[in-house]
Assembly symmetry: C2
Homo-oligomer: 202 residues x 2
């Protein structure tokens, strides 16, 4: 088995090319770090992980271990095969982007949307929009009256989510650079995460 | 005041060009009809109503009267100013499309995604993907354990939602043609809806 290890630097993004059956783990090494996550069919990145579709097929708001995640063309792209966090992940909220920070008074700030664009560009790829991500480790509780909150990430150091590629695909991660609204670590702390890929084919 | 009235035929879609301040009402004339709804900035349709963003700003899963709906660039595009239904609208679920019906064994079937494309084409517009809609009148209850259900629409005949345009925009509606899974009327009944526009400028 071939193992690849990599680090996604704090406030930055990175994409990985996976073959069918490859397993990729996202390790919240220092804890409290939200990781916006996208996936794209390697044959056509307009076939992409879709939260609207995944919610429809799973009939739930948060995937858990064993659940398949679907593309906007209704095909399996990833399966959530491991999760040592408490399972608090968000499928509801947009990625932060340039406009987010402008509204908060920051004209220059990294964003998850830009991190995705940079990560895809490393493979010569681009999209005319930012798809809705699955926000791993993001703490968005939903009350019984259907209100939601954005709270600080509570993922402990070392919490790990593992995904298996169901097709050849790109998976992109962004270590969310939000340090104004408290969604990441205490005091606006931003952390890197570590990636471990187990290749199905040696 | 100028009033425009129109009908969106059963299983079909239609878009309308609104000026800032125009009010558009969707009347569920016969009841039990889901209406997938989108909106686009008239200056650039890549600036579009975004459920991921609207949930983020409203901090709730379903808009109600008085709520502003936002674009993916975080600008107000519509305000929900009237609602005589019970407020059951869905922001979570993708529009049905060709792939939906193929998975259900129907190779030829109208879809909300195609209805949007046809409606935009009437204005010479197109998009490379189908944005997540707000599904007016769609009955998607959410349980306390975050599971969701797709249930038959319970909107009574005449239930009306009214939206005000906050910018010059296109609003597109699709009378959902789903007659296999019971999300519309009893026995797969599909109905038209009626549209009433009150122009802010005579």
């Amino acid at each position: 088995m071939t193992v690849v290890e990599a680090r996604v630097p704090a406030a930055h993004g990175k994409a990985f090319r996976l073959g069918t059956g490859d397993k990729i783990s996202v390790i919240n090494t220092f804890g409290n770090q939200v990781v916006d996550t996208w996936a794209f069919d390697a044959k056509d990145i307009h076939h992409r992980l879709s939260m609207e579709l995944t919610r429809r097929y799973l009939l739930k708001l948060r995937p858990s271990v064993g659940d398949i995640l679907y593309t906007n063309y209704r095909n399996p792209i990833l399966t959530l095969i491991g999760d040592t966090s408490d399972g608090m992940h968000d499928t509801l909220i947009t990625a932060c982007d340039k406009a987010t920070y402008e509204k908060l008074g920051c004209d220059e700030h990294r964003s998850c949307a830009d991190n995705l664009a940079e990560a895809l560009a490393e493979f010569g790829l681009s999209l005319p929009f930012t798809p809705g991500p699955i926000n791993l480790f993001m703490n968005v509780p939903i009350s019984n009256d259907m209100n939601i909150e954005l709270k600080a990430c509570e993922a402990p150091a070392g919490a790990t989510v593992t995904l298996r590629a169901e097709i050849d695909c790109y998976v992109a991660f962004s270590c969310c650079p939000m340090d104004i609204v408290p969604v990441n670590g205490p005091g606006g702390r931003l952390s890197p995460v570590d990636i471990r890929i187990e290749r199905a084919l040696a």
